[in-house]
């Protein structure tokens, strides 16, 4: 039984849906949610945090839909780690961490800062007096303060310098919590997540074990993503298909960008099992064999 899962969740702002009928379990070993801008990944993260109610479908927390669940227990179990601006600019960072603690446990602030590799003396600083990496550690300390079982990480390192990024990833990998990682960075997912879901235009287009997904993608979009990432000393990154084409409103949303599109793609593909993963593509077998 997974602690948190989405069942046919449609999400949006106003009346316009941006995430369409996504079902997703947060399983053990880390779950990655991969997507580029406009994929709906952050919207989905907000729903998992109970910050946004689904237009249809439900987020399940244990055996109850989130809207009927014990929110106090949920807030203790599930905590976010956001990217930037996640600390009140006017508040000393020690107080930001203390906000998560019951009054009697305020003395634990120093201990929590040490746990994320920070000098407890930094508690008296304000966010702008810290480096980007230090700020991100404070954000993690605050999330850990309530003793969560699941961290929802929204681009936790993408605003940081590479050397800092590497150390934050080490820290996150060493924590003994479950995690849902939202990112556009495939390499980060590879490090932290056993399972991954690729999101395109608000739909899951491919799910499966991260290693297999990246080694042999079955969806043309997953493959385009992978081939676009530059590798040290590797071939120049490849742009496959037309990246400026907007997602299609009907049928497969990727078809206008897809180099493999055929007339059949005007019918929306359902997620189906192909070679140990779930793919929404009529031509998954062709992608795998090409």
């Amino acid at each position: 039984m997974t602690m948190l899962r989405a069942e046919r969740v449609t999400l949006g702002y106003g009346r316009r849906p941006v995430v369409h009928e996504v079902s997703l379990d947060i399983t053990e070993g880390g779950v990655g949610l991969i997507g580029e801008s406009g994929s709906g990944k952050t919207t989905l993260a907000r729903a998992f945090l109970g910050l946004l109610s689904p237009m249809s479908g439900d987020i399940w927390y244990g055996d109850r839909p989130l809207r009927k669940a014990d929110l106090r227990a949920f807030r203790r179990d599930v905590q976010p780690v956001f990217q930037a601006e996640a600390l009140d600019p006017r508040m000393r960072v020690g107080r930001s961490v203390a906000e998560a603690l019951p009054r009697a446990a305020r003395s634990r602030v120093g201990e929590l800062l040490e746990q994320v590799g920070l000098d407890p003396a930094l508690a008296d600083r304000r966010p702008h007096q810290l480096s980007g990496g230090q700020r991100q550690r404070v954000v993690i300390a605050r999330a850990l303060a309530v003793g969560p079982r699941l961290l929802i990480l929204d681009e936790p390192t993408s605003a940081l310098d590479v050397t800092v990024q590497a150390r934050i990833l080490d820290l996150l990998a060493a924590l003994d919590t479950e995690r849902l990682l939202i990112t556009h960075n495939l390499a980060v997912v590879e490090r932290l997540c056993r399972t991954s879901h690729v999101l395109f235009a608000g739909r899951v287009v491919e799910s499966g074990p991260t290693a297999e997904l990246l080694a042999s993608p079955a969806h043309p979009y997953t493959r385009a993503l992978r081939d676009a990432v530059p590798k040290l000393g590797g071939p120049p990154p490849q742009a496959r298909g037309r990246t400026e084409a907007v997602p299609a409103a009907t049928g497969c949303p990727f078809r206008l960008r897809c180099p493999l599109a055929v007339p059949q793609c005007e019918q929306a593909p359902a997620l189906r099992d192909v070679d140990g993963r779930r793919v929404a593509c009529h031509r998954a077998e062709d992608v795998l064999s090409s």
């Binding site: 580029e36 801008s37 980007g132 310098d161 590479v162 050397t163 800092v164 990024q165 590497a166 990833l169 556009h184 960075n185 495939l186 390499a187 980060v188 590879e190 490090r191 385009a224 993503l225 081939d227 676009a228 990432v229 530059p230 590798k231 040290l232 000393g233 590797g234 071939p235 120049p236 990154p237 490849q238 742009a239 496959r240 990246t243 400026e244």
Partner: protein, 244 residues
């Protein structure tokens, strides 16, 4: 040499923020300056076009044969934006929101007295449809805006492109496309390309030579393949090991 720098030192309020003893970029060559935030890499790039405000600059900087530090404002204007084009991280922010891209292109060509230049060829070189000229900046994607900025440079007859993190605000699939455009232009038009980036992997796929900067100083420089395969400086090694 399209860009030639000797003993460049940039100071703000007496503090040394960039110290580059030597930097050369020839036609058809791509040189990358790599570093993290605060390394002085962007300052170096801006100082090559005399775009650093309130900075004290010493040394010798020649761009397209013009000595930037001693050039007259008129000579500097001729270089800037025409023969040497700057491509920034978010070009959309630099485009006037109420001006169609076509109007912008026309005005830029007129400003530099190059009305006769071939806009179609420039757009074709960056894989943009002519239709984009009718659009306003907010109607194009980040990748299109970046490619338009490059097309503008080509149309103006740029011989040098200075690019400051040109793809770091873009999605990876879009980044791949922009990098592809830059690579092709370099080969087909003999452009000199000076690229500032934090991404070693990206740099390794496009640059001939690399300068690694840290805290304002160049800690290592050389052919990209050598520096990245056998880094001599501990900081370069640290950067490489940090790559996920």
């Amino acid at each position: 040499m399209m860009i030639s720098v000797r003993d460049l030192q940039v100071r703000y309020a007496g503090r040394l923020v960039a110290d580059v003893p030597e930097l050369d970029v020839g036609a058809g060559e791509c040189v990358a300056i790599v570093g993290e935030s605060g390394s002085g890499k962007s300052t170096t790039l801006l100082s090559l076009l005399g775009l650093t405000e309130n900075a004290e600059i010493s040394g010798r900087v020649r761009v397209c044969g013009v000595d930037v530090l001693t050039a007259s404002p008129k000579a500097l204007r001729e270089i800037r934006g025409a023969r040497a084009a700057l491509v920034m991280q978010s070009p959309q922010a630099a485009l006037s929101p109420a001006t169609r891209l076509g109007t912008l292109m026309r005005r830029a060509l007129k400003l530099h007295g190059r009305q006769g230049n071939d806009v179609d060829a420039a757009l074709e070189a960056v894989v943009l449809d002519r239709e984009i000229l009718r659009r306003y900046p907010h109607e194009v994607s980040g990748g299109q805006a970046q490619r338009f900025a490059i097309a503008l440079a080509i149309a103006l007859g740029a011989e040098v492109i200075l690019a400051d993190e040109p793809t770091s605000a873009l999605d990876v699939t879009v980044q791949a496309e922009v990098v592809g455009v830059l690579r092709r232009l370099r080969a087909e038009r003999d452009l000199a390309l000076l690229l500032v980036s934090h991404d070693l992997a990206l740099v390794s796929t496009i640059a001939d030579r690399v300068l690694v900067m840290k805290d304002g100083a160049v800690v290592e420089s050389g052919p990209a393949a050598e520096v990245l395969a056998e880094p001599a400086h501990p900081y370069t090694r640290e950067l490489l090991e940090a790559l996920p």
